[in-house]
């Protein structure tokens, strides 16, 4: 049963570039990018109990650093990527120090406020970030001399990065450290009494999540070859959070499913109506009121119930 599932997933990941058209391959690449982003947010929301409304910061910071370094300062893609990942991780570490002074709703408000600072900077500091015009005319990297300009080659690249990211985050949450993280989420006082340092555990997770947020930001800017302040906006953070919660926070598959759904909804809806933000708001209301635990836990408890029934 398990092997069938794995084969199905592998097939659905490996087959698209072989027969699908460019539109669908690009859509799949976008889903992969959104999935990395949602998984990194899920480290905070699902496994750490830290609901962040500012996760787009890390996507945006990585994308902006890479865009500025390659387009304006003539850096190569390799160096720019390393600097932007280091820079993003440092930003997350700094923001973590500030935001983790509080927990719960205070944490949510501070992460939101901090991400708004970055959004404001991207918008207003126009001599650096080009403001509302964004930075256009970017290029994709050519790792080992392979051009990523075709849809299929970029998909392979994104799939490689996404698999690696997914693996690293899975190892992270299933490690001993991951267990202590879940312990801090559920019983911070007991964990402190046992000699763990809840603050340090949260901060390391926050920084680590920032790092993978940065990785998805790099892919994002490579894919779009363009970056605009809206990538840093609350809407962007909220879309990711919706994906995580809709799919089921605290599971590994949930955020991927959720992110894919949000992205597909956005793509298909925007073909028919202009009102994406309103639809997003309505979906938020619907998910929270009807499926508070998310799709994946909902479905798996349903199948578990069916299995018991058939026994």
């Amino acid at each position: 049963m398990k092997w069938i599932g794995i084969t199905l997933i592998a097939a659905s990941l490996l087959l698209p570039p072989l027969f699908a058209g460019d539109f669908y391959i690009n859509l799949a690449s976008q889903i992969l990018i959104a999935a990395i982003f949602a998984l990194s947010l899920n480290l905070l929301v699902g496994f750490g109990g830290m609901t962040s409304l500012g996760h787009a910061s890390y996507l945006g910071v990585a994308a902006y650093i890479s865009a500025l370094l390659t387009s304006r300062y003539g850096f190569g893609h390799g160096t720019a990527a390393i600097i932007s990942i280091v820079g993003t991780t440092a930003t997350a570490a700094l923001f973590g120090v500030i935001a983790l002074r509080t927990t719960g709703l205070g944490f949510l408000m501070i992460t939101l406020a901090l991400s708004q600072v970055l959004w404001g900077l991207a918008y207003r500091m126009s001599n650096v970030t080009n403001g509302d015009n964004g930075i256009a005319g970017l290029t994709r990297p050519t790792p080992f001399g392979i051009s990523l300009d075709s849809a299929a080659s970029f998909y392979w690249f994104a799939l490689l990065v996404a698999t690696f990211a997914c693996l690293m985050m899975t190892i992270f949450v299933s490690s001993a450290f991951g267990s202590s993280l879940k312990g801090v989420r559920d019983q911070p006082r007991r964990m402190a009494a046992l000699g763990f340092n809840p603050w340090m555990i949260r901060w390391i997770t926050f920084t680590y999540a920032g790092l993978w947020g940065g990785v998805s930001g790099l892919l994002y800017v490579y894919y779009n070859k363009y970056i605009h302040p809206t990538s840093l906006s609350t809407t962007s953070s909220a879309e990711a959070l919706l994906g995580v919660i809709a799919g089921g926070s605290g599971t590994l598959g949930g955020p991927v499913v959720g992110a894919a759904l949000v992205l597909l909804l956005k793509n298909y809806a925007s073909a028919y109506i202009e009102r994406w933000n309103m639809l997003l708001g309505l979906v938020f209301l619907f998910i929270v009121l009807v499926m508070p635990r998310g799709i994946v836990p909902g479905v798996s408890s349903l199948t578990a119930a069916l299995r018991d029934e058939s026994r």
């Binding site: 205070g106 949510l108 408000m109 939101l112 708004q116 609350t234 933000n277 309505l282 009121l289």
Partner: protein, 288 residues
């Protein structure tokens, strides 16, 4: 000299506006333990209501408009609280998410109804002529706005400290379960406070119209300011919201005037400083 005085007055008037926005936010947060992310959208809705009303009926008084818009926004807030938020009593995260969803819906509805171009709100005729004090020229409307905010602050203070309703609200802020146990209808208070907060924000939106004008994204501009004010001043504290509003008003105005590109970073310095040394905020009694 003129520069400092004018900027000082601008800071005061922005601070006054921020108080109208954040006092309700702080009360709601204090009582309901709910970060109402719709608050910026309520403010914007007020501004658009005001802009629409004042532009179509030229004789309309801005105070009447503010009152009307405040009531309208309070009604919308009340409906939202009764129909959605009460269902999520046991799910605080869900509550925050639906307020966020609601703010998207409201801001998109405003965009749909009133379009993407900024709509200027006219300054009332009687307050257009500048006031002269000791040879300095002040825009009268801004002075009146500051007075108005102080008036609201005094009314809220008396409401909270000197009336039975206020005593019940304070009891709910300090210890919700105990308040329930002695027979205070806390759930009804939630609705009252939510309406009150939304209403003040809506009225504040109208009064802020002549300064800010109604534009899409006003909610996203105002909400972080309210968040900073409340984090700075302390959650659920009226005094904290008052002091915090003026601190943010001054830092933002002078930051924009002196270092326009870094204004957004300067704005957050006081907040970061306060969080570092006093996570519950300057006047906060409860932790966030």
């Amino acid at each position: 000299m003129q520069f400092w005085i004018i900027q000082g007055l601008n800071s005061l008037s922005l601070g006054g506006l921020l108080f109208l926005l954040s006092s309700g936010f702080s009360l709601i947060f204090g009582l309901m333990r709910l970060a109402n992310l719709t608050h910026g959208a309520f403010f914007m809705l007020g501004t658009y209501f005001g802009a629409a009303a004042l532009r179509s009926y030229s004789g309309l008084n801005i105070w009447v408009t503010a009152l009307g818009a405040g009531i309208a926004v309070a009604a919308i807030g009340g409906l939202f609280e009764r129909m959605v938020l009460t269902r999520l009593k046991t799910n605080p995260l869900g509550q925050v998410l639906v307020t966020l969803g609601m703010s998207f819906i409201i801001s998109d509805a405003c965009l749909m109804l009133w379009g993407g171009d900024p709509i200027p709100v006219p300054t009332p005729q009687s307050l257009q002529s500048p006031t002269r004090v000791y040879g300095f020229v002040f825009p009268t409307y801004r002075l009146v706005l500051v007075g108005c905010a102080i008036g609201v602050a005094i009314v809220l203070y008396f409401l909270l400290e000197r009336t039975r309703l206020g005593a019940m609200i304070r009891a709910g802020v300090d210890d919700r379960q105990m308040a329930r146990a002695v027979g205070i209808p806390v759930s009804n208070l939630f609705t009252v406070v939510f309406c009150l907060g939304a209403g003040i924000a809506g009225a504040g939106g109208v009064l802020g119209g002549p300064l800010l004008s109604a534009y899409p994204g006003l909610d996203a501009d105002m909400l972080p300011l309210a968040l900073i004010v409340v984090i700075l001043g302390g959650i659920g504290s009226l005094l904290g919201a008052f002091i915090g509003s003026f601190v943010v008003g001054f830092t933002y105005t002078f930051g924009t005037a002196l270092f326009p590109e870094l204004a957004y970073i300067i704005l957050f310095l006081p907040m970061i400083f306060v969080i570092a040394f006093r996570p519950q905020g300057l006047f906060g009694r409860v932790g966030a």
